[in-house]
């Protein structure tokens, strides 16, 4: 099993698409999480009538708000990007036919696929850490430029935010992983994964606001659970002037349980499918 993890990590870390997706996401997080709000702040700062709005925007891009600003980016935007990452990591094995190579070396198929899953978990952890590190660096620079104290949230809150981001990313990546195996294709997995998380789940989530019976269903969906976890960590919902995808929530237990369930079930199904099916 360790050999499979080492081999999968070797393959993943040398895969340009993995780093392209990771760096693209980090850049998007910086641009839309910090850059755009800060530019709007600079635009509004000269207008006395917009002083409150400008101050609020500035607060959001300072290190003190790193947790709420950062985690709020993951449910909708980060999740979608990471579905692509999960699909790429395993889907390309089908595209290139490399399962023939790796399934005929020594480990059992389930070990090879589980190795991929573990390597994917490492990648999502790196992505979460890298995102928060980049956000911390840029918000610190802004604080220094604005003459504010560059004080970061407590290590405990930061660790909780990184862990939550990791869980959200892993659950989404696991969905991409399972879809790529199910469809034996990267492109189809990405298409279905994005439609599922961005369109279908958000539609159900929106309908649940007016059709209360759907609330129970919404609570079991991937994207709304991610939004609820972000909300439980203090991120503001879209209705409260926050980020799309974030839901108000006072309790992290249910979304954490649902997301963990997604991780276990989707990885488990993916491993079971690859172990069971013929490799054509």
């Amino acid at each position: 099993m360790i050999a499979s993890v080492r081999a999968a990590w070797f393959a993943d870390r040398k895969r340009p698409a993995v780093w392209t997706v990771t760096l693209t996401w980090t850049a998007l997080a910086l641009v839309f999480g910090i850059g755009v709000p800060y530019l709007v702040h600079l635009t509004l700062a000269g207008d006395p009538e917009q002083a409150d709005a400008a101050a609020s925007l500035l607060d959001g891009v300072l290190p003190g708000q790193l947790v709420t600003t950062g985690i709020g980016l993951f449910p909708l935007f980060g999740g979608a990007i990471v579905v692509i990452l999960g699909a790429l990591v395993v889907g390309n094995e089908y595209r290139w036919g490399t399962l023939n190579l790796i399934f005929t070396q020594r480990p059992r198929r389930w070990q090879v696929t589980a190795g991929h899953a573990v390597a994917l978990c490492v990648l999502t952890l790196l992505l979460a850490v890298l995102t928060f590190a980049a956000l911390a660096a840029v918000t610190t620079v802004i604080a220094l430029v604005e003459g504010r104290a560059p004080s970061l949230p407590s290590p405990g809150r930061l660790a909780a935010a990184v862990a939550a981001a990791w869980l959200i990313c892993t659950a989404h990546a696991a969905l991409g992983f399972l879809l790529a195996i199910a469809f034996r294709s990267t492109a189809t997995a990405i298409a279905v994964g994005l439609v599922w998380t961005l369109v279908l789940e958000n539609a159900v989530s929106g309908l649940a606001l007016v059709l209360s019976p759907l609330t129970a269903v919404r609570n079991l969906l991937l994207a709304p659970s991610s939004g609820a976890l972000a909300g439980a960590l203090g991120a503001r919902s879209q209705f409260d002037g926050g980020t799309p995808g974030v839901l108000e929530s006072g309790n992290a237990a249910l979304p954490v349980a649902v997301l963990l369930g997604y991780v276990l079930v989707t990885f488990g199904l993916g491993i079971w499918l690859t172990a069971r099916r013929d490799v054509g």
Partner: protein, 336 residues
Amino acid sequence: MHEIPSTSQCAPSIDCGSPLGNDRFAIELHEVTKRYPGGITAVDDLDLRVPQGAVFGFLGPNGAGKTTTMRMLVGLVRPTSGRVSVLGQPPGTPRQLARVGALIESPTFYPHLSGVDNLRLAARYAGVPDAAADRALAEVGLTGRARSAFRTYSLGMKQRLGVAAALLKEPDLLILDEPTNGLDPAGVAEMRELLRSLRRDGRTVLLSSHVLGEVEQVCDRIGVINRGRLVAEGSPDDLRAVLGDGSLLIGADPVDQAVACLRGHPAVRAVEVVDGRLRVTASPTLAAELNRRLVEAGVDVTELRPVRHSLEEAFLELTGPDQPVLADATTTGGTR
């Protein structure tokens, strides 16, 4: 199935009726069938035994079931029914895979990784040291391009890398599907020498190829599969014998007198004139007798040589469209 005489039967020392797992056979398939969804039967009640240490040619037309059979031998595809034993183990288990190297269908590697990185990746899965990758690359003459990305390789280089991956574990059994595909003549010669050296080392090779000349040169035994069934098995000479004894090519003058003379011989089955020479369907062992008969009849004999049937002719005969696949064929030795 063609009942092939002499060596196509099991050698006296080989117990063909023994159960699977006999350590004298590297590969044993017993009544193996593979049906794909949609009702396509790729392999149909196949019995096959490959002796340890043999270079075994596995021939068949496109779609005959060769690749599916090879996939079953490494556990990529599971049989619908029947039993498969490879080196005494069920296929696809770690113990079996550790002793088997395979190149099936076409070389499949990560396009962005270099040749050596692709092999190191495989080595990590296989649990062998990275140094094995360098050794395998040297063995197939690819050291000079080891650090180039796989996507930049020519077809022949890809093929060499595929063979290198198969050699990575220094396996007891190699399963090679069209290993000379895309190789230049020098590469083909190197591959031939590699196969011979593997045989000298006592390793078993299951070789699929459409280059019948190569198969003839390196294989001890050949199995021919058609429509999912083994239709013949034996040495290259055994397979050629399917077409009969062969013929004689005779240059004679005058031709008409020679034809009349030979047609009168009871052991001559046919005489035809081809490009001014006579093609005589008769056992090559009659050469001296026919020569004497012609000379005594006043015919000048300018040329006389036996013509052996080629493996290609035998292959076409065995796999032609009119060739029935006998569902109730009598088991003869290791074939069915």
